[in-house]
């Protein structure tokens, strides 16, 4: 068994209301055949459709997940993104989940990418907990500028930055949400103790 890292979809169950990882076992959602009993832990892009999940899987189970087009098995973390084709695939997958990704570049390690994504999650998740709803709710998207979003959303984003001790002074009315989130994530990335970069739970742990 090996602890592996995946980016995979989140299912939003409605009866009962619960957010669960697609394919993995959950008490309210059966596992994909072959993945029963797999132990996992994750961090999610709160209320959105993606999560970074670690799972203790054998080779057959890993192959099962690899076969799913909506699951990304993250390569060994110190591997570098070797060419534009791979870079573009990563960008497309992240962007499809409303995770800003135009910053992903050839030569970056997967560790750098995952750390930045985790930091994006941190800012986003605190903001969502203040908004009490999804950020990307269909009326707001990453290309919108700060001046184009409702005042309440704008205020919650600034409050989130203030609460986390982040410098918001560079954000103006013409800043896109894509740039805003990445800027806040970069600040978090620089502030955090390396020990923060970890996914853990259920007896599993992966240092990022």
């Amino acid at each position: 068994m090996t602890t592996r890292l995946y980016l995979l979809p989140v299912l939003h169950l409605t009866d009962p209301v619960y957010n669960v990882p697609k394919y993995l076992p959950h008490r309210f959602n059966p596992a994909l055949a072959g993945l029963e009993g797999v132990v996992w832990a994750w961090v999610t892009y709160l209320l959105e459709d993606a999560g970074l999940l670690i799972a203790d899987v054998d080779d057959a189970q890993h192959t099962l997940l690899l076969g799913k087009t909506d699951v990304i098995a993250v390569p060994p973390l110190d591997t570098t993104i070797g060419n534009a084709t791979v870079r573009n695939r990563i960008r497309n997958i992240l962007e499809a989940a409303s995770i800003p990704a135009d910053w992903v570049a050839v030569g970056m390690t997967y560790r750098q990418v995952v750390r930045t994504v985790i930091c994006l999650f941190q800012f986003h998740n605190r903001a969502v907990a203040r908004l009490l709803r999804r950020l990307w709710d269909g009326t707001i998207n990453m290309e919108m500028t700060v001046s184009e979003i409702p005042a309440g959303t704008r205020d919650r984003l600034q409050e989130t930055a203030d609460e986390l001790g982040l410098d918001y002074s560079g954000v103006t009315g013409s800043t896109t949400l894509r740039v805003l989130l990445k800027g806040m994530a970069d600040q978090i990335n620089n502030l955090l103790d390396p020990g923060f970069f970890r996914i853990d739970g259920a007896g599993l742990m992966l240092n990022l």
Partner: protein
């Protein structure tokens, strides 16, 4: 009142919230068999309102009796304003304990669940003394899991959580308090009152 606070939920079944020291959140809780249960078939919660908690606080509770589909346990970071948001610890009848977050009424477990201890074991969630985004889960005082990067919620209060409203399922013996933070200010009166003994362990 002074922290840590304790509660034994003594009273008449169905009383909700259990008494004036509790505020229902996200569906709320009721007294059941001199313990507590949820009010509806979903995640339920309530917080202790008689004290103000630090950002770094903890909650302990026992799951005493459980029927199928029911779970009971402590909760932390219960938001005291409009939000139906909290971090929950649900000891389920299926033999696992599920820790996770309820944000705006939408629950997400943080992992696949941990093998649960015997009914009656003290379950505890607490904020790490150093890192406010690290949440620690203990059973009978022993750390069983650490959850890093749980940044969605801050502040809030200690409380309880429950899944389902089964009347044969209840939790009990709650305690909530602040996490001792190393390096804090030592006031003269703390020494006079025996609250600080010079760091002896």
């Amino acid at each position: 009142m002074a922290l840590p606070a304790t509660e034994t939920f003594t009273g008449t079944d169905t009383t909700s919230p259990p008494n004036a020291n509790w505020t229902n959140k996200t569906n709320g809780i009721s007294i059941q068999t001199n313990g507590f249960r949820g009010n509806v078939s979903a995640v339920n919660g309530a917080f202790w309102n008689a004290d103000t908690f630090n950002d770094k606080h903890y909650a302990k509770a026992k799951a005493v009796a459980l029927a199928a589909g029911n779970s009971r346990g402590p909760a932390i970071r219960v938001q005291t304003g409009a939000a139906n948001s909290l971090y929950y610890c649900l000891r389920d009848n299926d033999g696992k304990t599920y820790n996770g977050e309820l944000i705006a009424g939408s629950p997400t477990d943080w992992d696949a669940g941990l093998t649960a201890p015997a009914l009656g074991t003290v379950l505890e969630l607490h904020v790490d003394a150093t890192t406010a985004t690290t949440i620690i889960y203990k059973e009978a005082g022993v750390t069983k899991a650490t959850y890093t990067g749980k940044s969605a919620l801050s502040g809030g209060a200690a409380g309880v959580s429950a899944y389902e409203a089964g009347t044969t399922s209840y939790g009990d013996d709650w305690e909530g308090g602040n996490v001792a933070v190393a390096g804090g200010t030592i006031l003269p009166q703390m020494i006079q009152q025996g609250l600080y003994t010079g760091g002896a362990r």
